[in-house]
Amino acid sequence: MSLLDVRNLEVTYADGSAAVRGVDVSLEAGGKLGIAGESGCGKSTLALALLRLLPAGTRVGGEILLDGEDVLAMKWGRVRAVRWAGASIVFQGAMHSLNAVHRVGDQIAEPILLHRKATAAGARTRAGELLEQVGLPAAHARAYPHELSGGQRQRVMIAMALACDPRLIIADEPTTALDVMIQAQILRLIAGLVTEQDLALVMISHDLSVLADTCDRLAVMYAGRIVEEGPARQVFDDSRHPYGKALSGAFPRIGDPASRFAPRGLPGDPPDPAAVPTGCAFHPRCPVALESCSVDDQRLREAGAGRRAACVHVPEAAASPSAVPEPEASPHPGPGAGTDGAGIPVPGPAPSSDATGALGKPASAPPPLLSAEGLHVSFPGRHGGDTARAVDGVDLDLRAGEIVALVGESGCGKTTLARSLLGLLPPTAGRVTFDGRPLDYSSGALRTYRKRVQLVLQDPSGSLNPRHTVYDAVAEGLRIHRYGGDERAAVAEALSRAGLRPAERFFQRYPHELSGGQRQRVVIAGALVLEPKLLVADEPVASLDASVRGEILALLLRLRDELDLSALVVTHDLGLAWNIADRVAVMYLGRIVETGSVEQVLSAPRHPYTQALLSVLPDAPGEPVVLAGEPPDPSRISAGCRFHARCPVLASGEAERAGVADACLTRDPEILGGGGEEQAACHYAATSSTSNPSELIR
């Protein structure tokens, strides 16, 4: 009898939106089930429903059998007994999910005192043990949540989840808000604990690649229904459902030429639970939708060994894997086809540069459009602490028509570098030059510079004033610079160029009436209207759904081709660099540690830090190299090579053998040149320029 058996679960919120529309899923003891889906697909609602944590007035149908007992039918006393003892939850934003005014140790001890006969002291020692289990010193029990880092707080949540030895752990987006390296640490911790204590795990995430890596079975949800279910690796690599295929496509595999300069996404946005489309909910966005799809609903049906999918193309009887017609690689006709305002489809592989070869530097190198020379930016420490050197000596060049990706963990100074390039932050040393001339920070000169370089921010809903219409938002740049020409035409042209057609329909709309993707397009249109030469995008797609991310990246690519608009994209996601960037620069602790063309750096990284970053990616080949510790603190930069404290090469003694160990400890590698050629700021890399990355750090 399975540990968890959900039968035809239906959840409708008080405002009538059907979040879950009939879900059947089961989980054996010790099994690990991943639930993937984009925003609004009902995965979190499912998680909360398992322990009846939904708000008052929500109507729940169906059965949830936990160890055979239906949670929905239990009396409240029984429900409370089951909560945390039977199954516990690890929430996503640990900052909000922990009570800010109670010590962490007390919060862990609370369920123990509640469910187990334990004295206060006993509960406290148990809490200490749990902290040790998740890799935190027991002394942290006395700390308050705000005194811990994101990674440490997530570990506390896990410790708390294990407090009453539950048989099932539900993890709702446990690592979404964390850095790549910390995410890897937490995922390894969860996987380790679950197998070690033979616990069942339900992991919920929007990141298909993470689930494929950690879970043995995977279910993909869309608009309140499970549309595909099966062994994790098979569903990820060879999905039977068009949505599954598109979703896994949205997570680029670095090194796979198919996704180079070809970001794949889906037109339109994930449906709103309050207005679920008729028939198969996916038909409006489905590339292989048939007439009937918009009418008859699809239920899960067998699609091979232990696999089920809810799509008309999955023949009832046939079990062979290849039965589903392969949607052509680039399913959509070229740009320009007017679809109803949902944005133009993904173009084919970018014409201008061939997918495989590195972008050869054009013969007569024109002066870089924008460059930073020996740039330093530091901030005074908080009330008297030592100064934080956010940008600690950077040379970087940006040529016309080139897309450069600036990659690094949080706190490495990439955002500060982007802001100082824009002139929003005056540097403490070094200078920024545009078209050969150094930047002049007087307000007049700054205003004309602002016309030439534009900024695109991460949070689309935050970057638009809720009280301005789309027309006002886009026209703001024109009004500031007192644009003489026909304002309406300029706005219409910018909007349609950003993919919002017909432009007039959007003039009077308010930001809150648009979807995430559309809002980001409005922001980009607002930047285009001033015909800038360069676009600085700070995490442009970080807060968008996977399927929408591809659309925006494709837009950036198209702008580069049509308007020769170069772009500096700041991101923590290496996949994005692989998708659209020509060159990439990896930053660590305020300095660029490796730069070069995307092909060179991502296929053959020479700096151990880049290698580690690549190795921890979910679908990266080989054993992941998880760097210990937290992201470095810019106010305490160590002598010598700033990475030596966490460098696996130094740790494994390899540097010793290459005779560069003391150099790593004492000599700070010199600042890399701003140009296009491939360089790595690492003594060890310098000695063995021919080594192959994979066996190097094993």
Partner: protein, 302 residues
């Protein structure tokens, strides 16, 4: 959407304002308390405005007072008469004019000072902000009534003094709220985007901060009006108002001086108090409803 000639920006702006006003009213209507408050306000507003027609200014004349002094309520005088024999119902209606006028003007004065200081202190960080906030905090520390009494005694007894005394002592709370809201708005990314577009201080304050602060200012105005009406009544009660002017506070002071309390003439004392309480409550209800509608970030309906 085929339109013959595309509407100019001016027409667009007006249509948009009409549209947002309709949207506001649709949401406001859902708040029963707010609607009730608004109805009461409209009623008292009408009473005050039509007073010269319905009751006539000679109601306050003492020489032609129709009744005997201190008559208890009767057919002819539904609310009895005051110490001169003037009908109290007429005085109550006439008093509405002054109380509402003082309340409105004092509130407008107080909120406008508060808003200007709040926005500027919120926008310009550094010395100016700290100085302004020091002054605001100092004013906040002052017990408002004590300050108002001192001001009222310093200046001659007149409505202007009352309005100034109330206005000058109540602006800090608004300033503090507006500054907090300005700081919240300035931390939003679209302000950084506006700066990146080259927007100057004036552009950011007028185009971005002000529209987002307006709902708070509007709601605050209604709340300040209710406290201003109470303050006017208090100052009049302490004898600092203009004795020749008929206002609800003045009526209470006359009732008290005539010894209505101990002689049990409840009808001299009770109606003005109820009128003040009802109007102040109505303004508060409206203020809270406006705040809830315009500021959804406040989340759950209050």
């Amino acid at each position: 959407m085929t339109t013959t000639t595309p509407p100019g920006p001016r027409a667009l702006a007006w249509r948009r304002r009409g549209h947002s006003a309709a949207r506001f009213w649709k949401q406001y209507r859902t708040r029963r308390a707010g609607v009730l408050g608004l109805a009461v306000l409209v009623l008292f507003g009408l009473i005050a405005l039509t007073a010269p027609l319905t009751v006539g200014s000679d109601v306050q004349s003492v020489t032609e007072a129709p009744g005997q002094p201190l008559e208890s309520p009767s057919g002819q005088f539904p609310l009895g008469t005051d110490r001169f024999g003037r009908g109290l119902l007429g005085l109550l209606i006439w008093g509405a004019r002054v109380s509402l006028l003082v309340g409105l003007l004092a509130a407008v004065l107080s909120v406008s000072i508060g808003a200007v200081i709040g926005i500027t202190a919120g926008h310009f960080r550094g010395r100016y902000a700290t100085v302004m906030m020091r002054v605001t905090d100092w004013f906040l520390v002052m017990p408002t009534l004590v300050l108002a009494i001192a001001l009222a005694t310093v200046m001659s007894r007149s409505l202007g003094t009352i309005i100034l005394a109330i206005g000058v002592t109540t602006w800090p709370t608004t300033a503090r709220l507006v500054r907090a809201q300005t700081l919240a708005v300035e931390s939003r990314p679209y302000i950084e985007r506006a700066k990146a577009l080259g927007g100057g201080h004036w552009h950011i304050m007028s185009r971005h901060v002000l529209p987002n602060v307006m709902p708070l200012v509007l709601a605050q105005t209604t709340l300040v009006i209710s406290s201003a009406i109470l303050a006017e009544a208090t100052l009049a009660f302490l004898g600092l108002g203009d004795p020749t002017v008929i206002s609800w506070g003045g009526l209470l002071q006359d009732a008290r001086e005539a010894g209505a309390v101990s002689s049990g003439d409840w009808w001299y004392l009770v109606p003005p108090g109820i009128a003040i309480a009802v109007v102040a409550l109505a303004f508060t209800l409206c203020g809270r409803a406006v705040e809830a509608v315009l500021n959804p970030r406040l989340g759950v309906a209050r």
